[in-house]
Symmetry: C2
């Protein structure tokens, strides 16, 4: 009754690489491409699974051999883009600039990643609102990866005496992540222009660095 499909990338191949597995990978590529393009054209909520399946040249229900929910199609995409972006960022990060500056560059990269498609932010968040579903965990995992990078930056900053030495890295990284996501949601909801969204993120990061309390 192995009904649930494996995760895309890993998934213990407990057997010699099969011809079927190869076929499966090819199908997944087609599916991924069809989903990507259709979601780009119409937006996630207007891209029907039936249409995606048609474009991918397969039956609708076959999608569920490769994915456990519609959201996972977008999570796939986001996971890949994100992992690329984060390795690029890690390579370009000098680890010696002032921490505030490094965080600023990080959010620039993230913004570049997410600004093309509001759906990335919106659907990832929505997926997290279905706690029992695997897509929720997948989405939280992506968020964790992002938080981890922020924590990494903060850690080296703390070592350089650039930050409060008693700082709770994860809590701080998480707060940074949250305020950025919040701004991007406002953007997706049409309350902020892209420019204003960017500015809001910058302002919130500044706020977090300085803190709310007075410095007397």
């Amino acid at each position: 009754m192995a009904r649930a499909p494996r995760e895309p990338g890993r998934g213990a191949v407990r057997r010699r690489d099969d011809g079927r597995l190869e076929r499966g990978r090819r199908t997944r590529r087609r599916l991924r491409e069809a989903a990507r393009s259709l979601i780009n054209e119409r937006g996630f909520d207007h891209a029907t699974l039936r249409d995606i399946a048609e474009r991918a040249g397969m039956g609708t229900s076959s999608i569920y051999r490769h994915v456990r929910s519609k959201e996972e199609l977008l999570i796939w995409e986001l996971a890949e883009l994100q992992s690329e972006a984060w390795t690029r960022f890690r390579a370009s990060d000098d680890k010696v600039s002032p921490t505030r500056e490094r965080i600023g560059r990080f959010f620039e990269v993230q913004h570049q990643l997410l600004a093309s498609q509001p759906d990335f932010t919106v659907i990832a968040l929505r997926a997290a609102t279905y706690p029992p579903k695997p897509a929720a965990r997948a989405s939280l995992k992506l968020a964790d990866q992002t938080v981890a990078i922020l924590a990494e930056i903060l850690q080296s900053g703390r070592k350089n005496r650039d930050l409060d030495p008693t700082l709770d890295l994860l809590a701080a990284a998480n707060a940074l992540f949250q305020v950025a996501s919040s701004a991007r949601m406002s953007w997706a909801n049409g309350l902020l222009t892209e420019k204003a969204c960017r500015k809001s993120i910058e302002a919130s990061v500044d706020l977090l660095f300085r803190g709310i309390g007075s410095r007397s």
Copy 2:
């Protein structure tokens, strides 16, 4: 073609109070009660509109005479509980205690409000991920009300020299709101116990007050 129903509480009664309007209110009460109980029993996602309608003694599609989406049923409930809670809080808030303490009390009240039903946090957030729908705006409005109270507290705190005098009130209030919501989402996703959720909120608030940066 007045197909869309009015908002629950307000909604310009542009006519003498009708017997029909009275009937409508009665129906809405029944609907509200049915929705509340069924959602409490089974959780939002397992409470079917067909079941809710049956318990309320009405046809399924009649629900849409009073509500524009399923989410609004929960938003109703949350709006009412929240407005009660906030007035209670405003009454009990002394406006002179240290700001950190007042914020702490606020989050206690909010936690008491939201800890009974993860759905409140989860579905309100989900509703915000459907930008074109009215429920999204309704949810954002509720969030804004909460942020407004936090901003109010911060404002008097700033006046009392308790906070950074150049503080951006709304940005700060929003950040506080976000970190609390984030912790509650982790709780809803089973990553945190209720106790841990509470502690996480406290820790994040402390973090926000002190700031990330060093105090050299």
